[in-house]
Symmetry: C2
Subunit: 240 residues, 2 copies
């Protein structure tokens, strides 16, 4: 059960796993861009380091996501508005593309194989990931964290709770700027630093009305957000 008032969110532990309930909290849950996630066209929004934000994107609108510092991964999710069970799906996108990497011009599809998000423009070298699950509480515990660690699964949950959208499942994200090269015949991959630069952006357009959720990945226990740098903020802007 979740109770919300102006400043705090109270979450009662449940015996049965509920995918919508965060394992911990950060400021994401108190800072939606608006009460229902509707944004203003042309306004530059900030996703603070280690946090997430949800924004509604209408059919044919675009979102520009800026890698402000250059080293920051964005875990990107999209849900069909009003359903909650249909979302951008990497496993269906891989089938559709015939590749385990994406390129500019590609259209990413939902778990019902419908086109949802198109990569329209990308000023970075185009290295992104569609293979890896978003980080979560359990991941950081396994990496050795001794207490709660911000994570993309909770940022996804909180971004949506903050605009009163319930989910049934945490989809595998489109990991923008995440560098996971698959090498060798045995299918090994490695966790590498992003090859993007400060100010790089990616422009994505929507085939359908949807809710986009972005998490500025708080991973600081593997090098996916760069070596010797802290997880940073991201920015985004809507375009008609």
């Amino acid at each position: 059960m979740i109770t919300v008032n102006n400043n705090w969110v109270f979450i009662m532990q449940k015996d049965v796993y509920d995918p919508s309930i965060p394992d911990g909290q950060n400021s994401t849950i108190k800072n939606p861009i608006s009460y229902d996630g509707t944004g203003e066209i042309g306004k530059r929004y900030i996703i603070p380091a280690r946090q997430g934000r949800a924004v509604r994107l209408k059919k044919n609108q675009s979102i520009l996501i800026y890698n402000t510092k250059g080293n920051q991964v964005c875990d990107f999710f999209a849900l069909i508005d009003g359903a909650g069970s249909e979302f951008l799906s990497m496993e269906h996108t891989r089938t559709s593309l015939g590749r385990v990497y994406v390129r500019t011009g590609d259209t990413l599809v939902t778990n019902r194989r419908r086109p949802l998000i198109k990569i329209v423009e990308d000023t970075s070298p185009g290295i992104h990931d569609i293979l890896i699950a978003c980080c979560d509480h359990e991941r950081y515990q396994q990496l050795g964290a001794s207490s709660y660690h911000d994570n993309c699964a909770d940022n996804f949950r909180m971004s949506l709770l903050a605009i009163n959208v319930q989910i049934k499942h945490i989809p595998s994200p489109f990991n923008i700027w995440m560098n996971i090269p698959v090498t060798g015949n045995t299918g090994e991959y490695s966790w590498e630093a992003p090859v993007s630069s400060a100010g790089d952006f990616i422009k994505l357009s929507a085939h359908e009305d949807c809710i986009v959720v972005m998490s500025a990945c708080p991973q600081d226990m593997t090098p996916v957000n760069g070596i010797g740098v802290l997880p940073a903020e991201l920015e985004f802007e809507l375009e008609n």
Copy 2:
């Protein structure tokens, strides 16, 4: 809404997408191995060609899946019993393994990163897939099917409906014997015929009580179940 009597299942179309409702039907829904999916140890069960079956696997028990004809892919799913939202997850398994292929000895994990299924033994050359979504109604329509085509998503749904288990999501399966080699630096893969032989089996053990669902993949519009052969049956057996 779903109504079941002895012989037929009536499904009312809903406006909102419900992941538990099949797009069509075959005999899977009328032929559970028992009313709740409990099986007999040592009994050889048949999964007829193009159909699915659910079976309960207890902690430390094993299931042996036989590729009777040699060319048949098995879409394999596992759900934690009693939860419905925790299931074997390929995106979390790829993170855990550091590879996009599996090997004998590997442990596959859930979306909560808990060990669930271990590959104990494999008489085939060990070529299996953990990248591709299961086939579904939309996939066959896109491949050119003009009417309903049996599919693994519906077999998964029907296998569980047949033992009265509801689901909230169709996980990406462990595609046993499916041959999807990733080639080249640009991440392309190809759809190849299985390299397994008649009578090959794989033995999987359970870390937790779970419900296993297997679908004898009805794909006959790409070569994943072999070239010039029809989709075939599979067999399975439980072992203490």
